[in-house]
């Protein structure tokens, strides 16, 4: 009798389902690229990088459309077959990620065949649209790292947008931002009181807050704002260019010529990464989210830690909410957050509860968003309704765990009861 049965010997019935499914998906995508994204052989896709008044001008990027897509299709088919036949292990997620990027590029090349779009403009829009998602994700991370599920992020965004518009109209932009953050913080406090002190189910408490904020803001905007228009007419923050850095081609306009909210989000992501992983209080916060009883026996106040983080998370979400009004049009509309808070939570999971990961995920969602916007301008045969589904489909794929299992903090969703 054999001493050991190694994994290979034991495994005719062992199938790496994740790799097989991913491989199948990639092969299907290769077929889509090869047969559906067809263009004439002589057509060329043009991507503009510099804009008319840029200091340092750079030439356009031109790609032969059909050649590019044939190459993309071959690459996708190769990755897919490899995954399907050999299994991927830890490379499954990477292969799938590469595959999706290639698909996006092929799609873009196909849509612009024989035309030209501004690459810079698209990336700029990507960053702008990633901001509320990243801030929502950051709010989610701060809560979930201490063990509180925050479905109410959506409501906090909406409340922030509303408060930003109203107080921004009354007292100016800066006061608007501060009031938006305070409003977010108040809803954070409400959530904290419900789930920490009164131990209401965290999902239910979050849904209740979302519905409450939606009802309240919709009522006020339809009844009051319609009557007194000056209450809903804030002047939004303009983008400002950071000297020198802002003039670098491509990177400059994308990262260093934006408005306050973009810079704010980048700073907050950096700060919270440092806080969570390199400071004493960050370590304690994470311990509270992983094993609150252990933290308690070591003299860490679980209740206080949770309250503080949920309130700060509310303030971050409030700031993110102000983006919708003070960061773009200056006016509040009913339900104008359109589920960005929930997408933020998806970005949080995709980013594995790490602020930098969440930012990267938010950028992907932002890209899908701006892609949809550009493609509807380019007049592709695909109905724009389908394109606007893209971010949500991406969310489902991500949350379904096809892109690698993510492990949430262990104490999530459980109220802490001292013995």
């Amino acid at each position: 009798m054999g001493d050991a049965v190694s994994r290979q010997e034991a495994g005719p019935r062992l199938i790496d389902w994740r790799a097989s499914v991913s491989g199948g998906v990639l092969i299907a995508l290769a077929l889509v690229v090869a047969f559906l994204l067809d263009t004439p052989w002589d057509s060329v896709s043009t991507f503009r990088i510099s804009r008319p008044r840029d200091v340092w001008a750079v030439g356009n990027l031109t790609v032969p459309s059909q050649w590019f897509n044939v190459a993309a299709s071959v690459l996708l088919a190769f990755l897919g077959t490899r995954l399907f036949l050999k299994g991927g292990g830890r490379w499954t997620a990477v292969a799938l990620g590469i595959g999706l990027v290639v698909l996006a590029m092929a799609f873009l090349v196909w849509a612009t065949a024989g035309k030209a779009i501004s690459l810079t403009g698209m990336l700029q829009a990507t960053v702008v649209r990633a901001v509320p998602i990243a801030l929502a994700a950051l709010g989610g991370i701060l809560c979930e790292r201490v063990g509180v599920i925050n479905i109410a992020i959506e409501g906090m965004l909406l409340a922030g947008a509303f408060a930003g518009a109203m107080f921004g109209s009354l007292m100016g932009g800066w006061a608007g931002i501060i009031c938006a953050m305070i409003t977010g913080g108040v809803f954070g406090l409400l959530l904290a009181a419900l789930v920490i002190t009164y131990r209401v189910d965290q999902i239910i408490a979050g849904v209740v807050i979302n519905l409450f904020v939606l009802g309240l803001t919709s009522y006020v905007s339809s009844q009051v704002f319609a009557e007194y228009r000056w209450l809903n007419k804030a002047s939004p923050f303009r983008s400002f260019k950071i000297p020198v850095l802002g003039d670098i081609p491509l990177i400059g306009p994308v990262l260093f010529n934006q408005n306050l909210f973009v810079y704010g989000a980048l700073i907050l992501v950096t700060l919270s990464t440092y806080y969570l992983f390199h400071t004493r209080h960050g370590l304690r916060a994470r311990a509270v989210g992983e094993h609150p009883r252990a933290a308690d026996t070591l003299g860490i106040d679980v209740i206080k830690t949770r309250y503080a983080h949920v309130i700060v998370a509310g303030m971050v979400a409030g700031f993110g909410g102000a983006w919708f009004t003070l960061g773009s049009v200056g006016r509040f509309d009913e339900n104008m957050t359109f589920g960005r808070g929930f997408i933020g939570l998806a970005a949080m999971i995709f980013g594995r509860w790490h602020p930098l990961g969440a930012l990267a995920a938010a950028l992907i969602f932002g890209f899908a968003d701006s892609l949809q916007q550009k493609l509807s301008i380019l007049n592709t045969p695909i109905p724009s309704e389908f394109l606007s589904m893209a971010p949500y489909i991406a969310t489902i794929v991500v949350v379904a765990g096809l892109v690698g299992q993510a492990r949430p903090p262990a104490a999530i969703g459980k109220p802490y009861v001292k013995e």
Partner: protein, 519 residues
């Protein structure tokens, strides 16, 4: 540092957990605190560690009274507690766990992991603990995790260490290493409280012993002046016989046979590897091993709760590899689950409802689509009487019974039917000594009726007491098999096999390969 507890009392609702307890803890001494589960040991130590506050009584530290309002106060007073259930964050590294709450910092709240690592390493080497400081807790074996807990209290410069049931999760060899560390700590002048219900450990390590029963101190003194029987009698309150009078077994036909069974979990990790074992009618087979070495998966494979990846399971001559849980159940497989709260009973259901959980669909208690509650209640009442389940009524919520009675209820439900194979997983965990004796006798009686009994336990004594043959599991494999007819198995060899070091060295027994044949 010396600590004195004076007149400590604590009550939880109707339960008097501690009553007028006086205890002295001295520097450079190991105090053994002996008592059954539920005797009030943990309550007492939680009072000393500041987690609970006493209703009456006081704590004197070096003669002056101290008041604890939270765990922080006892730590500040140099008292460190090592909990039975480890208080470690699994995804943190050893250093992060050790420093949590008293982190060295520099600059603006910056976590100085370099300084922390150096300090932890220093303590680590001083007491010879050999803990890898940068490993994640979840990657470490329990024996090492326990040392991390000790590092934690030492890092807080504790002078008194409370060790709550520290050996429950260790192999006999790990216990030896652990005792070496305890002695090193004692010789360094630390006061140590060693809580346990294992008598031989008290005799081996303690300098003084106090025995706790029903919340009161019922005896204390020098362990050398007591025999094991004396201590047991003090602990239980009546004379106890340790071994179940077990007659020679009469091995019959093969009832259960596993051939080349392997099981992989969702993450494709091997949980069971090439398991070959058999259980015959009229014999008790014990599975020894440290918790988490595949025992749970083995039970799930046999009872049908998990599908095996490869291999075959035979039951009384039939292939049941693909049979459902219900099918196996009806063929005569009884299962006493390892955790009665999680999968053995429903706490909010009454005793009668719990008793019918495995047969509610059976014609004997149904008429048409309805359950005939009269018959259910009558049957439950009869079973309670014949299996010594002490409950005022079968209409009482099962959650309000004592652990022993809950377990006897589960045993009654499983054994009452016509069964051929009993799979008993940790059948006496968290149960009082009286109920342990009773359950053991029931299992042996089952064997004597010609049934096959498979016992899975992390208590080696239980395995040695009951089993005719013993398999030792290590990392999902059968590491060794032993013949224990007439109690002949070598305790030390089993211990080594449990630690995974005995490959091929156990005397008088075959290796994992010889399927089926009694070793």
């Amino acid at each position: 540092m010396d600590i004195e507890l004076r007149g400590i009392s604590k009550r939880f609702g109707p339960v008097q957990a501690n009553q007028d307890i006086n205890l002295e803890i001295r520097a450079g001494e190991v105090l053994g605190l002996l008592g059954e589960n539920g005797a009030g040991k943990s309550t007492l130590m939680n009072i000393l560690s500041g987690l609970y506050s006493a209703d009456t009584g006081e704590i004197l530290i070096d003669g002056s009274p101290a008041i604890f309002t939270g765990p922080g106060d006892s730590i500040a007073n140099g008292i460190g507690m090592v909990h039975q259930h480890f208080m470690l964050v699994p995804v943190f590294s050893v250093v992060e766990n050790v420093i949590l709450g008293v982190e060295p910092t520099s600059g603006v709240d910056y976590l100085d992991l370099e300084a922390a690592r150096a300090q932890v390493q220093e303590i680590n080497t001083r007491y010879g603990m050999e803990v890898p400081t940068d490993a994640l807790i979840e990657d470490l074996p329990v024996g090492i995790q326990q040392r991390v807990e000790i590092l934690k209290v030492l890092f807080r410069s504790a002078d008194v260490l409370i060790l709550d049931e520290p050996t429950a999760v260790l192999t006999p060899q790990e216990v030896e290493e652990f005792f070496t560390i305890v002695r090193a700590l004692r010789d360094a002048g630390k006061g140590i409280v060693f809580i346990t219900h294992k008598l031989h450990e008290i005799l081996e390590i303690a300098d003084r012993v106090s025995v706790l029963r029903q919340g009161q101190i019922v005896g204390q003194g020098d362990p050398a002046s007591f025999s094991e029987a004396d201590l047991a009698e003090m602990m239980v309150g009546r004379p106890v016989s340790f071994s179940v009078g077990r007659a020679e077994s009469t091995s019959g036909d093969t009832v259960l046979e596993l051939a080349g069974v392997s099981l992989f979990d969702a993450a494709q990790d091997a949980r069971l590897v090439d398991i070959n074992l058999s259980v015959h009618g009229g014999e008790v087979v014990g599975i020894a091993g440290v918790q988490g070495n595949g025992q749970t998966e083995l039970v799930e494979a046999i009872t049908g709760l998990s599908a095996v990846t490869t291999g075959e399971i035979g039951f009384a001559g039939q292939d049941i590899t693909r049979a459902s849980v219900r099918q196996r159940h009806r063929m005569g497989v009884a299962h006493i689950p390892e955790d009665r709260h999680k999968s053995g009973m429903v706490g909010n259901f009454t005793v009668a409802e719990n008793m019918v959980l495995n047969s509610y669909y059976d014609e004997s208690v149904t008429s048409g689509v309805q359950i005939d509650w009269r018959r259910v209640h009558a049957r439950a009442a009869a079973a309670c009487l014949s299996y010594d389940v002490r409950t005022p009524s079968v209409f009482l919520g099962a959650g309000s019974l004592s652990g022993g009675n809950q377990q006897k209820m589960v045993v009654a439900r499983e054994l009452e039917r016509d069964v051929r194979l009993i799979v008993a997983s940790q059948p006496t965990r968290g149960v009082d000594v009286g109920s342990i004796e009773y359950i053991h006798r029931q299992l042996i009686a089952c064997r004597d009726r010609g049934n096959a009994v498979l016992i899975i336990s992390s208590e080696l004594d239980e395995i040695l007491d009951l089993s005719d043959r013993i398999y030792v599991m290590f990392e999902g494999r059968i590491a060794a098999t032993f013949d224990n007819r007439g109690g002949g198995a070598d305790r030390n060899a089993i211990g080594l096999a449990m630690a995974g070091v005995s490959q091929g060295t156990n005397p008088g027994a075959g290796r994992s390969g010889n399927r089926g044949s009694a070793a």
